[in-house]
Amino acid sequence: MSHQLGSLVSEILNRHFGEIVQKVGDDLFSFGARPVAAIAKTTEIPRIKVVESLRTLLKYDLVTFEPSKNEVVADYKIVPDNILLLMRYPRYLLQIKSKHGSEAEMIVEEVLQRGCVTATNLLVTLARKYKDDREKNISIVSLKDMFISLATAGYLQQAAVAEVKEGEGGEVPTMVAVATIVPELDARTLVLAMNEGAEVTDNIYWKVNFDRFHQDFRDEIMIDAMTRRIDENAGELMRHLLMQVYLNTPPWAASSTPVPALQLKESARRGATERPLLAQFVDHYLRVMEENGCGFVRRSGDASGGQFVVQMQRAAKETVYALLEHTVNERLGSNAARIFRLIRDKKYIEEEDIRKHAMVPNKECKELTYKLMEHHFISVQPMRKAASGGGLVKAIYLYYINLHETAHTARELCYRACHNGLRRAAAARRAHARLLDKQRRVRSVVHSMRVREDPQQHIARVEETITPPERQLIQSVEKQLKQLSTAEIELDKALFILHWYFMYKDN
């Protein structure tokens, strides 16, 4: 809950929900949990608007509430982590599209946009929206099937249900999480609802299960790492391994339950046509992964042809180290990165020994070590000898890496970079607001003219209202905005790795 995080959260809220919600968010961030009246007082926003913004925030799970002390009013509390997820939405869509196709993408997009929604409502809206779209050829039945498979795979989950505790006199409900039960939707009622607008009673609300997506992202990081370190076959084997882990281990356990090698061989054999080498050398690959795979995989026993454990926590740590090494390398140069790795390798090391091993000139070596200190990438532990008269006793200074702190530094840096990017994008939008607005208007006019099938001449005349210099400017602004949003997604990836690391408390 740093200042940096606060300004990033504020910037994200502004971007997605506008100024009023931003103000409410800022207020909640700086004061912690508080009731509506207090928010209205400090922000000087009319109460009704505060309530409206809170409603919006609640809908997307960006704010939680709980009864305050007197149990009559509710205290609202902001959830910064969920707000950061707003940056990840494009990635969720891309992920689901590449895994389950464009229909799944549509469903997830709609759920993301609405916050939470009932199944029938969702499917009917979607089907109506794409009714006239011949190209996509979407029927409500296929959408229903996709919805069910997404719910089964855990990408969608049931939203928490509000419950009022009886007998305690409180009026503030508490949100109770519900176990997801995959629904059985009747295709006929859906079709009826779509065509005739028949009422369907459905009070089970659904929302997107971000956690499931995050598991996918994590798995991808690990598979990619194995592919980079060894080869594609090792990556594929890691995929098989993680598939088994998904089935038998709680999602974020520090290390998985053992997976027998026999099962892996079985699944490798099934993919033998694509990857004949893997099917042939499963044992060899497992051994190489165990020995050269940064400790992602560990052999835990010899039963049933060998048991293998995926060490998630270790993997998170290694990945964060890789991230930090990249960061040090780019910020302070490759020699600093060498010193950083050296310190990591030796755990605790004296300045003199750093110079000896790093093979960097004396002066530069000292300077870089101190710079690393200054940027909080490394820490120092003085070892003083017990007081023994005379000032001649020299203290020994040992350098080491406190990964937790260093990761924190990197996270703050990410927040800062994200915030700056968003800020820059907002500034660019503001500066060219008139132009962008004009372009939007022209586009909508042209679109409606096309629909009406107006002659091409007329359309061209409308399009010409944007002069060539204007067009050029728009193009360059759009390019900038695009680059900034790509950067945002990339930064979010880095944040995800750091978040993954911080998930394990006892690091």
Binding site: A234, E325, C414
Partner: protein
């Protein structure tokens, strides 16, 4: 001429016997080894040797014992006074590690001015030399003229005149990496399995050393030890990993980082030196940051 040669051969023979018996030899030993040598010749030979300073003469239980002096100290004795001898011996003891002037003074109990004079005279005779220590640039150590300074003093192959040659190290570092990278791909999709591929992608330090020697980029010959130091810097660069063969030799393999360059270093803020001074308001701000403008163009 003939007699001179004969005498030389006699003295050489006596020296050879003396070398075999470091505790010293007596007249009897010599006559036992050289029955053909006449006592007169023996005396002249031994006298000559004593004059050269090759022998020390001792009286042991009534018998005279000749003991061979250490080869080098005989030079110092020539025309040197007592102080010089003491200082010389101290320096000699220190071998190729060298000895610091303060230590000489403490152990010889000589005054600073006198010691300086002695050292100067020894230096001018080319008996000793002063070597700068790489660890502490101001510290000078003395050692015998003909010795090669120890690694801890000279810094080994990486130092030229006590200056660290970072360019040389960089070049070697790059060449080693190139060598390892040539093999690194062998692990990928190796038709004989990954373990075989891994073995092929490994390189021992000796192999790398041979490659470097064949390239001829180094004027001095590098030991395997030196190459290991370079290879270790590659490991610390994150560009290689090392492992140990069953026979104990270290092997190295080029690797890639676990993740591609993260977003943090792709944006200007991640590498910006001013990022900690940056604020939405103020002179340094993201809205009109020139680094960002450059990056966006």
């Amino acid at each position: 001429m003939a007699t001179v040669k004969e005498e030389d051969s006699i003295t050489e023979k006596i020296l050879a016997i003396a070398k075999k018996n470091p505790k010293g030899i007596s007249d009897k030993d010599i006559s036992a080894a050289f029955p053909e040598l006449s006592p007169a010749d023996r005396v002249t030979a031994i006298n000559a040797l004593l004059q050269q300073g090759s022998f020390d003469l001792y009286n042991q239980g009534g018998a005279l014992i000749y003991r061979l002096k250490a080869a080098s100290s005989k030079q110092a004795v020539k025309g040197a006074d007592n102080e010089e001898k003491v200082v010389y011996n101290l320096i000699e003891e220190a071998e190729n590690k060298g000895i610091w002037i303060r230590d000489i003074r403490r152990r010889s109990n000589l005054a600073m001015t006198q010691l300086n004079k002695v050292l100067k005279s020894l230096e001018s005779k080319k008996l000793i030399k002063a070597v700068k220590c790489v660890n502490a640039s101001k510290k000078k150590v003395y050692m015998l003229y003909n010795l090669e300074p120890d690694r801890s003093i000279s810094g080994g192959a990486w130092y030229q005149d006590q200056e660290f040659e970072s360019e040389f190290v960089d070049i070697l570092n790059r060449q080693c990496l190139r060598f390892l990278q040539q093999r690194a791909d062998k692990i990928k999709n190796n038709p004989r399995g990954p373990i075989f591929g891994r073995t092929q992608s490994y390189a021992t330090a000796a192999e790398v050393q041979k490659y470097i020697a064949d390239l001829g980029i180094s004027k001095i010959t590098l030991d395997v030890e030196d190459v290991i130091t370079i290879l270790n810097t590659l490991v610390y660069d994150g560009k290689a990993e090392s492992s140990v063969y069953p026979d104990g030799s270290r092997v190295y393999r080029a690797i890639e980082s676990l993740i591609p360059a993260p977003g943090l270093v792709q944006v200007p803020c991640g590498v910006c030196p001013l990022v900690y001074n940056c604020c939405p308001t103020g002179l340094v701000n993201p809205q009109d940051c020139s680094y960002m403008t450059e990056w966006l163009e």
